[in-house]
Every structure is written in structure tokens, then in C-alpha cells.
Amino acid sequence: MLETIRLIEAAQITDVVAQLCVQANTCLGEDIRAALTQAHACETLPLAVNSLDVLLKNADIAQREALPICQDTGMAVVFVRLGEQVHVQGSMTAAIHEGVRRGYRAGYCRNSVVRDPIDRINTGDNTPAVIHVELVPGSELHITVAPKGFGSENMSALRMLNPSDGLDGVKQFVLETAKAAGPNACPPMIIGVGVGGTMEKCALLAKQALLREVGSTHDVSAWAQVEQALLAQINALGIGPAGFGGNTTALAVHIEIYPTHIAGLPVAVNIGCHATRHCSAVL
């Protein structure tokens, strides 16, 4: 049987990516807003209450005035789930970069990308994006834009543990990384954790974990319990909103796992700030 091929114009992808860049940078996710509101009700220290108040007001101002939530509008990380029956007419890669270029300009977002990590000349249009493409069955094209700021990205870490380190080793590393992140990562944080795979797969899992809805739990109950236990331990650190002290150091811990090698136990921790921006669309 002949499979139908669906054609998508590259220009459509550019338009969608541009819109998602603006939306992600100006509109705080409803899940995060709800978590911040809940945290606000649970804090007693004046500096913690005030900081959460500032963050909620900031989100309102950003949305109302169409201003970026944060001046660090990040490096644009773009996740594409490309249906195997889709054919893109034109270059999908070029279309995504063009979408980032247009979206960052239209949204008055900051150009934060330098062309070479050592010569550090700004590219002037926030390109290139970091693009991850996954082939999936079907005829749809899913796009997620996740602008990633480097206050939190710089506090992220990866370690290749030994299998004998086990679950305790994983938890210890997550806790250590969250503690070291402290006030620099703009708490309350979202903690994305990857466990398993290879080195690069593990890092990608941690980043994908940041895309999960805050308040959701892992499908596997044993991992859901690990998420809850880690969240409680991280909040007991007392770092608090903005790092000024308090009960809310993290809003969520999200773990993603993947099969791994008999000799390894990779763990990656990708720290997300209190805005952890991402927006998605389907073509």
C-alpha cells in the first residue's frame, strides 16, 4: 500500500517558530503561575513572600505589556517531532533559524548568542538555534520552542556514575547540583533530571524533563516517589525564592529515564529557572 506523503511548506515552519519565540518569552506558563501562587501562600518569611510577589507581578506585566519575562531571552532550543509521512518543502533547518531570527526581533528579545565560544562575537540575531529532531510515526509536525537562559543553564551538571552508586548516588548528585545552583539559577527552580542512555542522551533527557507540566508526576510510581522525595529534600535546603531564604527552592523535580549500558549510570541535571519557558504547536 502506498503511504500518503503530506507536504508542509518551510515558510509555515518559520511563521510558527517566530510566534512561539514571542509567546514563550512573554507569557508565563499557567502551570508555573499556579505553582508560584501556591508557593506564595505557603511562605512566611517576608523576603520570600515579597520575592514571589515580584515574580507574579512580573509575569502580569510581561503578558500585559508584551515584554519579555526576563531579559535573558535565552538560546532558542527547538524540539521537532517530525512525522515520517511529512515532507518539508524547502529547508526545515533554515526555516527554524529564520523563525528564531524574526521572533526575537519582533518580541524585542535580547540577542544573547556568540558565534564562537572563545572569540565571543555576538551573531546579532540570536541564531543559531539548538535543534533536536525526532522522527515519529504519522503525518504531523510538532514544534516546541524552549528559550533557555544561562543563569540556570550554567548551574546544570552531568556525571557518569557507576552502577554500584545506585539510586542513592543519583539522588545525592541531584541534591548536590541543586544546592550548588543556589541563588544563581533564579529559584524557585524546575529540576530536570535524565537518568540512563549515553552521555548525550542523558543530557537531552534532562532538558526534555523541563518541558513536562509542573504538577504532573512520572508515569512509573517508583520514579514519581523519587521525584517527590527529591523535591522535599531540595526545598529543605532553605535557599528559597530569589535565594533570599524560604521553603520554596524548587517548584518541581522531573525525571526522565532511558535504558543504559551494563557498565554505566549516567545522570544529568538541567536546572530551569522559575520561568522555564516553552511553547508548542502542531502543524
Partner: protein, 172 residues
């Protein structure tokens, strides 16, 4: 507590770690690349593009200003990246720093030595903080784009004293 920048030395001495303040007046943006250039100029014995004595630096790189606004979103960046440059700038007269996150012990010692203060803003509140800025005037290093030095006129910027002139710290 309302304070105005440049802050008089005796007013800096009254600030205590953990105090919430509303800062108005004049401050200058400078982050990584501008700090490199300022300290290069100091090392070469050349004049700085503005008189640093008694002044305040805000570790920030703003978004572009939308039409009708003085500036785009402008929250604090992580201060520790400026630590290696900071003692030289304090030596040259800098008295107030605004950023987010802890400072290293060399900076805290220099803050104590020079009677300076480090103020923290809430990280990630760039939209709200942009509303405190009424005027922005380029001062130097325009080629650095968002990392250029800009002179800001601000009103009631909400900040917390994170290291006071005695070297006491808010972050642990």
C-alpha cells in the same frame, strides 16, 4: 527604605544585610565584557569612560527598548562572574553593585575595606524592573550591544542588601 544613587558614604554605612530598599537615581549597566574592558583600562593606567567614584554598577544586559519605552526587560545577571574584576573597580572608587547571587571572599573583603555595598535584585524579574527605568543613555562600548555601558535613571527599584559594608552576607 528609600535611597538615592550615588549613595553618600554615611548612607551606605546605615544599610544592613537583609534590608529591603527602593533605589532611585543614577546607575550604570556593566556585565562581563564591559568589566573586562574597564579593568583593562585601569591596568593600562588609562581613563575610564565615566567617573566611577561613588557610583553604582548594575550587572545587567537589557532587551532592546520597544517603541515608547526607555528600555526593554532588564533584570540582574549572576554576579559571581564579575568577582574577578570587582576588587580593582572598588579600588577605583565603585561603591555599589547590583546583581544576583553570592560573591566570593575576595569581593566581600574588598567591600568591607572600601565601605561599599552589594544589593540583590530578584533574578528573572526583568519586565517589572524595566518599569523602574525612566531614561537610558549610552555611555561606552556601543559595539558590545546589550553588554554596552548605559547610564540609567531609575525610580524605586526594589532591592535587598546582600552584602553590607561590614561584609555580612545574605546568601549562605
Amino acid at each position: 527604605m528609600h535611597i538615592t544613587s550615588p549613595i553618600a558614604a554615611q548612607d551606605i554605612q546605615r544599610l544592613r544585610v537583609g534590608d529591603s530598599v527602593l533605589l532611585s537615581g543614577i546607575i550604570y549597566t556593566a556585565r562581563d565584557a564591559a568589566h573586562q574592558r574597564l579593568t583593562d583600562l585601569l591596568a593600562a593606567g588609562e581613563p575610564l569612560p565615566f567617573d566611577l567614584r561613588g557610583q553604582a554598577i548594575y550587572y545587567a544586559g537589557p532587551c532592546p527598548a520597544p517603541p515608547g519605552r526607555a528600555i526593554g526587560s532588564i533584570g540582574p545577571t549572576t554576579s559571581t562572574r564579575m568577582d574577578s574584576y570587582t576588587p580593582a573597580l572598588l579600588q577605583a572608587g565603585l561603591r555599589v553593585m547590583i546583581g544576583k547571587g553570592a560573591r566570593n571572599s575576595a569581593v566581600i573583603d574588598a567591600i568591607r575595606e572600601h565601605g561599599a555595598v552589594y544589593l540583590a535584585a530578584v533574578g528573572g524579574a526583568g519586565a517589572l524592573l524595566s518599569q523602574c527605568v525612566s531614561h537610558a543613555e549610552p555611555v561606552a562600548f556601543a559595539d558590545l550591544g546589550t553588554e554596552a555601558i548605559v547610564r540609567l535613571t531609575i525610580c524605586n527599584m526594589p532591592l535587598v542588601v546582600a552584602v553590607d559594608c561590614m561584609g555580612r552576607q545574605l546568601y549562605h
